[in-house]
C-alpha cells in the first residue's frame, strides 16, 4: 500500500468513507454497545448530571424542612437519609465522575488521538458507575438509604440496628463505583502518557492533560485507602470482626484516618480538573497563550502532593496530640500557595490579553470570586483553635459549599457552555445563560453566606430541625430562599441543554477561535481526528498554518483504514516519538455484561445471599476472561503498518513499550496503596495498645516465613518461565509455569496455616482480625496470580502467546513483582513483628 503517495495527493472520498464506517456508532439498541469515547463520555456526563439533579432535589427538601423552626415537613429519619445521600451523591456520583466523563470525551481530540487506549475499560467503568449509582440512589425510595452522614463514622454506622441496610448499600455501592474510578484513572494516565499526537512533547501538552495526569495519579493513592477501609468496615458489619469496636481492641478513629486519607485528596481530585477547564477557557477568551505555563504545572503537581498531608484537619477535635494537629495545620496552610498561584496565573492571563466577554467567562469569573471566599474560610478552619469552635457547625457547611460550587460546579458549567458546540455543533443561549448565572451566583451567596453566621451562632450541621429562639430563624429562611434561587438557575441551564436545537444556526468548527486541538474534532464524526497530526505548538490551531485543513483532508498519519480496524498511535512519554500503531477494540457488549455481573456480586453481598454472590463472582471472572481472551494481546497478521508520511510502525509491542504493561503497572500501584493502608491499620492498632496482641497467640514465626520463601520461589520460577519463553523453549516454559503455580498455591496455603493452626479467632479481638485480613489479601492476590499463570498457559497452547508475542506473560510477571513484594511484607510483618515489637 503506497500511503506516502496518497498522503501527498488529495485523498479521496472513499478513504474518508472507509474511516467513517469503521468508527461508526451502531444504531438501534446496539447503540448502547458502543465503546467510543465520544458516546461513553456523553453518557457518563449525562448520568453524572442526572445524579446531581437528584441530589439537588434532596437538598431542596432539606432546605424546605429547615426554612422555619420546629418544622415537621419530613421525619428525622428521612432527613438523615436525605443529607447522607446528598453528600454521597454529589461527591461520588457527580463531582468525580463528571471529570472522568469530560476527560474521556475531550482527551483524545485534545491530544490529537483517535481514542483512548482502552475503550472497553472506559465503557466498563461507565456501566459500573451507572449501575452502582442507581443502586445507591434508588435505596431512598425503599426507605433504605444510608443515613449516617456521607463519611459514615463508626460506631453509629457499624451498628446494624441504628444504621440498617443503608450502610451496606453505601459501602458496597460505592466500592463498586470506586472500581470504576480507578479504571478511569488507568485509562487517563496511559492515554496522556502514551497516546499523544507525534511531536506533542510534555512542554507542549495542553494544561488540561497536565491536570488530569496529576488527578488520575492522585486517584491511585487516594481511593485504595477508602476501599481498604470499606473492606474492614464490611467485615465488621457482616462477620462481626471488631476493627472499630473499642471493647475488643478496635478503634473508630482508624476509619476516620482511612476515610480522610481518601477524603481530603478527593477535594483536590474534584477541584483540579475543574480548574483545568478554566486553564483551557481563559486563554481562549483572552486570545493569548497562558501566562506561566510552568507555574500551572508547579501548582497542579504541588497541590497533588500537598493534598495528601491534610487529612487530619478533618479530625482536629478527635484528641490527637497538638503537635500532630500542628503538622497538618501547617500543610493545610502550605497548600494555599499552589492554589493561589493558579488564581494569579488566570488573572495575569486575562490582564495580558484582551478579554472577550462571554458566558463561559462569566461563570469563570464567578468561580474565582466564590472559590477565593471558600479558600479564605478554609484557611480559617485550617487553624486548629478556630476549628475547635467551628467544627461540625454550619460554618463548615458554608465553607465547603463555597469551595465546591466555586471550585467545581461553576467551572463545570463554564465548561458546558464552552464545549457545547463540540457536542452538537450548536451554542447554548447567551441570554438565558446570563440569567442562569446571575440566579446561581445570587442564590449561592444568599444561601451559603448566612450559614457561616448560623454556624458561628452555634447551629450544628445535620440537625433536622431547631427551636425558634436561638437567633437562627431568619438566617435559615434566607438560606432556603437562596437555595431555591440557585436551583432556578440550574433549571435554566438544564432546560437550555435539553431543548431541541434543530432550528438554531450551526456553529462554526472552532467558534471561539481557540488554540488547542480538540476544536479540530467535528461533532458529526466519531473518529476523533480525521488524520493524526504532527504537533509543534502549545496552541497548534493558532500557530500551525493550514493544520485544520491538512488534518481534515487526511494529509497526516493513519488517514486510511487497514483490515477494517480502529487504529491509533502510541508515542513516547517525554517527546511523543511514534512507537506503535495500536488497534483498539470496536463496539461490543461484553463490557456491559461484565459490569452487570460485577454489579450482581455487590448487590447480592448487600443482602448476604452468599450462594448467589459466588455465582455472580464466577460469572464476572468468566466474562472478564472472555473479554481479555478475545479482545487483547492479539497477534497481528502483519508485523508492521505503514502509518503514512513514510513512517512504518510495529503493530505489536510487549513489556514497558506496550500500553498494557503500563496499565498493569498503574493498577498495581493503586493496589499496593490499598495494601499499604491495611498495613497502616496493623501498626495503628499496635500504637494504641500497650499489648497489641492482647495476650492472644499470633500466627507464629514458622508458617509466615515458609509462605514468604515459597512466594519468592514462585516468583523466581515465574521469571524463569518468561526467559525460557523468550529463548524459544516453549515446552519447558509451560512446565515451569505450572510449577510456579503449584508453588504459589502452596505459599498461599502456608500463609493460611499460620493463623489457622494457632486458632486465631477474628471475632474475639482486633489483633487476630487484622492478621486474617493481611493473610486474606495475600491469598486472594495469589489466587489471581495463579489464574493469570493458567491464562498464559492456555494462551501459549492456543498459539496466542509465542516467544516473540509475549505481552500476556510479561504483564503477568509484572503482576508477580508486586505480588511477591506484598506477600513478603505481610509475611514478615505477621511473623517477625510480634517477636520484636509486640
Amino acid at each position: 500500500m503506497n500511503t506516502r503517495a496518497r498522503s501527498s495527493a488529495p485523498p479521496g472520498k472513499a478513504q474518508e468513507q472507509r474511516l467513517r464506517e469503521v468508527w461508526r456508532t451502531p444504531s438501534g439498541w446496539r447503540y448502547w454497545t458502543s465503546v467510543n469515547n465520544v458516546d461513553v463520555g456523553i453518557w457518563y456526563a449525562g448520568a453524572a448530571f442526572a445524579f446531581m439533579l437528584f441530589a439537588g432535589v434532596l437538598a431542596l427538601i432539606m432546605r424546605a424542612q429547615l426554612a422555619v423552626p420546629d418544622n415537621d415537613l419530613v421525619s428525622a429519619d428521612f432527613y438523615n437519609q436525605a443529607f447522607t445521600l446528598h453528600g454521597t451523591v454529589m461527591m461520588f456520583l457527580f463531582a468525580v465522575p463528571i471529570f472522568e466523563a469530560i476527560a474521556i470525551f475531550l482527551l483524545p481530540p485534545m491530544l490529537g488521538a483517535r481514542e483512548l487506549p482502552f475503550p472497553r475499560l472506559g465503557a466498563f467503568g461507565f456501566w459500573s458507575f451507572l449501575l452502582g449509582g442507581v443502586f445507591v440512589c434508588g435505596s431512598i425510595f425503599f426507605n433504605a438509604a444510608p443515613s449516617s452522614g456521607w463519611f459514615m463514622y463508626p460506631p453509629l454506622a457499624t451498628d446494624e440496628k441504628l444504621s440498617g441496610i443503608g450502610a451496606d448499600i453505601w459501602l458496597l455501592g460505592l466500592s463498586f463505583i470506586e472500581v470504576a474510578s480507578i479504571a478511569a484513572a488507568v485509562e487517563i494516565i496511559v492515554g496522556i502518557m502514551k497516546c499523544r499526537a507525534p511531536g506533542m512533547r510534555i512542554n507542549l501538552m495542553p494544561l488540561f492533560a497536565w491536570y488530569l495526569l496529576v488527578v488520575a495519579g492522585m486517584i491511585l493513592f487516594a481511593f485504595p485507602p477508602l476501599i481498604a477501609g470499606d473492606i474492614l468496615f464490611e467485615l465488621q458489619r457482616m462477620f462481626d470482626w471488631p476493627f472499630f469496636d473499642p471493647a475488643r481492641g478496635g478503634d473508630p478513629l482508624l476509619w476516620q484516618h482511612l476515610f480522610w486519607i481518601f477524603g481530603h485528596p478527593e477535594v483536590y481530585i474534584i477541584f483540579l480538573p475543574a480548574i483545568a477547564l478554566m486553564a483551557m477557557i481563559v486563554p481562549t477568551f483572552a486570545q493569548r497563550p497562558i501566562v506561566g505555563y510552568s507555574w500551572i504545572v508547579l501548582a497542579a503537581v504541588g497541590t497533588g502532593f500537598l493534598s495528601f498531608g491534610l487529612w487530619v484537619h478533618h479530625m482536629f477535635t478527635t484528641g490527637l496530640p497538638q503537635i500532630s494537629l500542628a503538622f497538618f495545620s501547617a500543610a493545610s496552610a502550605a497548600v494555599a500557595i499552589p492554589t493561589a498561584v493558579q488564581i494569579f496565573v488566570f488573572i495575569a492571563t486575562m490582564l495580558a490579553g484582551r478579554v472577550v466577554l462571554s458566558i463561559p467567562m462569566l461563570f469563570g469569573a464567578g468561580s474565582i470570586a466564590t472559590f477565593v471566599i471558600g479558600g479564605l474560610t478554609g484557611v480559617m478552619v485550617a487553624l486548629a483553635p478556630f476549628d475547635w469552635q467551628a467544627h461540625d457547625t454550619y460554618f463548615v457547611v458554608g465553607h465547603l459549599h463555597y469551595v465546591l460550587i466555586g471550585g467545581m460546579l461553576f467551572p463545570v458549567v463554564a465548561g458546558i457552555y464552552y464545549y457545547f458546540p463540540l457536542i452538537n455543533a450548536r451554542h447554548l443561549s447567551v441570554r438565558w445563560g446570563k440569567i442562569a448565572f446571575w440566579l446561581m451566583f445570587t442564590g449561592l451567596n444568599v444561601a451559603f453566606f448566612p450559614m457561616h453566621l448560623t454556624g458561628l451562632r452555634g447551629m450544628p450541621r445535620r440537625v433536622f430541625t431547631y427551636p425558634g429562639d436561638l437567633g437562627w430563624d431568619w438566617l435559615n429562611l434566607m438560606s432556603t430562599a437562596g437555595a431555591y434561587t440557585f436551583a432556578a438557575g440550574v433549571l435554566i441551564v438544564v432546560a437550555d441543554i435539553v431543548r431541541p436545537k434543530h432550528g438554531d444556526p450551526k456553529s462554526a468548527l472552532n467558534p471561539w477561535n481557540a488554540g488547542t486541538l480538540e476544536w479540530i474534532s467535528e461533532p458529526e464524526e466519531m473518529w476523533g481526528v480525521r488524520s493524526i497530526p504532527i504537533v509543534e505548538s502549545r496552541y497548534p490551531l493558532w500557530d500551525q498554518k493550514n493544520l485544520v485543513a491538512d488534518v481534515n483532508a487526511g494529509r497526516f498519519y493513519l488517514p486510511d483504514v487497514e483490515e477494517g480496524r480502529r487504529e491509533g498511535m502510541v508515542t513516547s512519554v517525554l517527546d511523543a516519538k511514534p512507537e506503535q500503531v495500536i488497534r483498539v477494540p470496536a463496539t461490543g457488549g461484553i463490557t456491559m455484561i461484565a459490569a452487570v455481573a460485577l454489579a450482581a456480586v455487590f448487590l447480592t453481598l448487600t443482602f448476604k445471599w452468599w450462594l448467589a454472590a459466588s455465582l455472580a463472582g464466577f460469572a464476572t471472572l468468566a466474562t472478564i476472561l472472555y473479554w481479555l481472551w478475545t479482545g487483547t494481546a492479539e497477534i497481528p497478521k502483519k508485523a508492521e503498518r505503514d502509518a503514512g508520511l513514510g513512517l512504518v510502525l510495529p503493530l505489536y509491542t510487549s513489556g514497558p513499550a506496550s500500553v498494557g504493561w503500563w496499565a498493569m503497572f498503574i493498577t498495581m500501584t493503586g493496589n499496593s496503596t490499598g495494601f499499604a493502608s491495611l498495613v497502616f491499620g496493623y501498626f495503628f492498632y499496635w500504637t494504641i495498645h500497650a499489648d497489641f496482641t492482647a495476650g492472644a497467640t499470633g500466627p507464629g514465626l514458622t508458617w509466615p516465613l515458609i509462605s514468604v520463601a515459597l512466594f519468592v520461589l514462585a516468583w523466581g520460577t515465574m521469571m524463569l518461565a518468561r526467559s525460557l519463553n523468550a529463548n524459544g523453549s516453549v515446552g519447558l516454559m509451560r512446565t515451569i509455569l505450572v510449577t510456579s503455580s503449584v508453588l504459589a498455591i502452596a505459599a498461599a496455603a502456608a500463609a493460611l496455616a499460620g493463623p489457622w493452626l494457632h486458632r486465631m479467632d477474628p471475632v474475639a479481638h482486633v489483633y487476630p482480625a487484622i492478621v486474617w485480613v493481611l493473610v486474606g489479601w495475600t491469598v486472594v492476590h495469589a489466587g489471581l496470580g495463579v489464574i493469570m499463570q493458567f491464562y498464559c498457559l492456555a494462551r501459549s497452547v492456543a498459539g496466542r502467546l509465542t516467544p516473540t508475542h509475549d505481552m500476556d506473560l510479561r504483564n503477568t510477571c509484572l503482576y508477580w513483582h508486586f505480588l511477591a513484594l506484598m506477600a513478603a511484607i505481610s509475611g514478615a510483618i505477621m511473623g517477625l513483628f510480634p517477636e520484636v515489637g509486640g
Binding site: 502518557m193 503537635i323 501547617a330
Partner: protein
C-alpha cells in the same frame, strides 16, 4: 557531582523528587510524633530528643531539596533562557522540565519549613 549525576536526566520522574522528599519528611514527622506520644516507652526518648530528630530530618530534607533544585537549575541552563520554553525541540522540553522542577523544589522547600515549624513552639504531647 556533575560526573556522578548525568546532566541528561531523561525521565519524567525527576520532576517529582522534591515533592517526594516533602512527603517522606512529613510522614517521618507524623509517625515519629504519633509513636512517641502514644507509646513513650518504645522509643525511650524525651520530647526534646524528638525535636532534635525532627530538626535533623528537616535539615536532611532541605539539603535533598536544594540538591534537586540545583540539578533542576542546571537542567534549566542556569536560567540563561527565559520561559515559556514552548518550541517543539528537545532543548525547550528539557528547559521546561528544569524550570518546572526548580519551581516545585521551591514550593517543597517552603512546605518542609512550614511543617517543621510547630516543633519550635510545642514542647510536649499536649492533647
Amino acid at each position: 557531582m556533575t560526573r556522578i549525576l548525568p546532566s541528561e536526566t531523561d525521565s519524567l520522574w525527576t520532576l517529582f523528587t522534591a515533592p517526594v522528599i516533602w512527603a517522606l519528611h512529613f510522614l517521618a514527622c507524623y509517625v515519629l510524633v504519633a509513636v512517641h506520644c502514644q507509646k513513650p516507652g518504645v522509643l525511650g526518648i524525651g520530647f526534646s530528643s524528638v525535636r532534635l530528630i525532627i530538626a535533623a530530618t528537616t535539615m536532611a530534607a532541605l539539603i535533598g531539596i536544594l540538591l534537586s533544585a540545583w540539578l533542576a537549575w542546571r537542567q534549566w541552563g542556569y536560567g540563561r533562557d527565559d520561559p515559556p520554553h514552548d518550541d517543539p525541540t528537545l532543548r525547550d522540553r528539557t528547559l521546561f522540565q528544569g524550570f518546572a522542577t526548580l519551581l516545585l523544589s521551591g514550593l517543597s522547600f517552603v512546605a518542609v519549613v512550614l511543617v517543621a515549624m510547630p516543633v519550635l513552639f510545642i514542647s510536649e504531647c499536649l492533647r
